[in-house]
């Protein structure tokens, strides 16, 4: 499946709708990165949310940076709180 990558700020209600979820692949990632199915509906959604198109490498760098920041925050927690949470894990975008 082909994807497009963009950043867009989730404003809340109707940022993405049930109908849109059925029309194209959409997944949100740290750093307001969105992976969008590359079809007509996906293109329309990127326009709706004024998404800033990114290359996959650019999008991955944003996600990785956000997760590394979250890892640093986790590492600064007390041992008790670290036991309660899971350390964020860097992953690859599809």
């Amino acid at each position: 499946m082909a994807y497009k990558y963009c950043t867009a700020t989730n404003w809340g209600k109707n940022f993405f709708t049930h109908e849109e979820r059925r029309q194209f692949h959409l997944s949100g990632h740290p750093g307001e990165v969105w992976v969008v199915g590359d079809n007509l509906y996906g293109d329309q959604w990127i326009g709706k949310v004024s998404g800033a198109i990114k290359s996959k490498d650019e999008a991955q760098a944003i996600v990785t940076g956000e997760i590394e920041a979250a890892q640093a925050a986790y590492d600064a927690l007390s041992a008790e709180e670290q036991a309660l949470q899971n350390r964020p894990v860097v992953y690859n975008l599809p």
């Binding site: 949100g28 899971n86 894990v89």
Partner: protein
Amino acid sequence: MATYKKEKGFAVQTLSSDTAASVVSTGSWATGGAMGTGRAYMGGAGSQTAGLVYGGATPSVTANTEEYNGTAWSEQNNLNLARSYQAGGGSQTAAISSGGYVAPADKTETEIYDGTSWTEVADINTGRSLYCGQAGSSTANLIFGGYDETAPNVKAITESWNGSAWTEVADLNTARYNGGGTGTQTSGILAGGTPGSGQTGAVELWNGSAWTETTDLNTSRTTAASGADNTAVLVAGGDASGAKALTENWDGTSWTEVADLGTANNGGSGNSGSTNVSTLNFGGTPGYRTQTEEWTTTPAADFTQINLGQVYFNSTSNAFKVTGFAFPTGTWASNTASPTAQAEMWGTGTSNSDALVQSPPGVSMEWNGSAWTNGGTTNFNGQTRGATGGIAAALIWGGSPNNGETEQYNGTAWTEVADLNTTGNQQPTGPTGTYTDTITAGRGPGWQAVSESWNGSAWTETSDLNTARRGLGSGGGSSTDAAVFGGNVPPNNASALTETWNGSSWTETTDLNTARFSGMGFGSSSQSVGYVAGGSYPASPPYNVKTEFFNGSTWTEVGDLANGRYHNKGGGTGASALTAGGYLASPAGGQTTENSIWTVDQGNLTITVS
């Protein structure tokens, strides 16, 4: 004689929404209003249109309380004790908060919300945080599991609230924290969580007096749950070596994956809805979010059960639709390992629950959908033989080093029948004809264009392929309907060529996207549904993970195999197939016991009128 239907046509049912397997399977997550305070590990209560969030980590502890009206969150009176890592329960006008964590200690305080303000009531007996859940109301509640800084850290304790006091009742079978708990004081459920290290998929049901283990989640993880009782429950998000967007539905018997969250979410996001058809998921980590997602399904009154072959008009999307197999959506899933690592064997199948593969030295192994068992032993033990059929009736022919032997299988024993006219190895893989009607084209040694059809008793030479090759994939496979794809061409290269057979001649058509040889072909009707999976590139490894789907005119990439491989064998229809064995890239050249099953779900396909 003309029939009424031929004269007048027939009525097409009009539906307001697409048909589906179940009400819950129609569900999806969409964004709701954003919370005023981003947070994780908070309490949540209420429903999708009357929700409540309180406390949590921002990352510092907060007492902040907000109400949701189905559109937006609004600030309300704070908790008396700011805290995080508590669970929540009840409704927007009658909620409960107990325990939690305020550095450096776990808490026992309990508070009740009456729709306006929080009031302190009796403490829980054992201070702890990250309960696996809080099932019930503000007057009849149940908390279970949790984490405490004193050993043993991970708790199995269950406490019951009668509106005025907490009483210890039967422990969980598996101590854990940060699982998904919901339901009522007499019908509760706990799914997943952390038993101390890693995550578990274990699920337990509460009947009012005891916990009973039941079917595990499909994916072990921490998670959040929503459900009116323990017979209809939705769990969403969580953590399993990273944040997950997975959503699973419990129907009282089994867990089924349904549509993912829009954003993967861990860190104890609240899930306050009271049912598995209408709920909320909010906050969470990474990032201490403000985001809310709303889970909504087709109303039960508008739900229509999916029915293969049904034609209807969707009045909402203004489209005529037919229910069929959505072939491009197919996926491979891992299957029970084969008894023996193998490659370059023969293999065939009619579905992912009916397959037959060679297991050296000449034993045929049967896969019936649940287990591998020994079948009959073949008379000739050649590799790379052609094969068609399933465990009840099959045909194999040719094979290494350069043979023409043909054998029929009756479900018990193999019997030699008439030989091929032209001996050969590296026969096409995956033809899905029958043992009385099939065709084989291309073969080694070298590169041959020979084609022969089988009528149940003898092979007859037909028109040759346009391009001589060996190690092809095949779909279809009757004497009037077949296709071959890819293959090895001189001097030792992968080919992308596709040829279709109409009963009298082979015709070149659209090439594969990725040239390959010794992959596995499958598909029930070569003219419209053909596939090839795996195969070798000219330079190998890496071997091919790609699966391609042929709709009669073009090839489209569909779900990949988990691991690249070649000389994998098996077969099946476009909707249901199995591939077994092959050579893997790691260890280089190693034969594998891995096998995978291909499944395509039914879907509602739009009918396009040109």
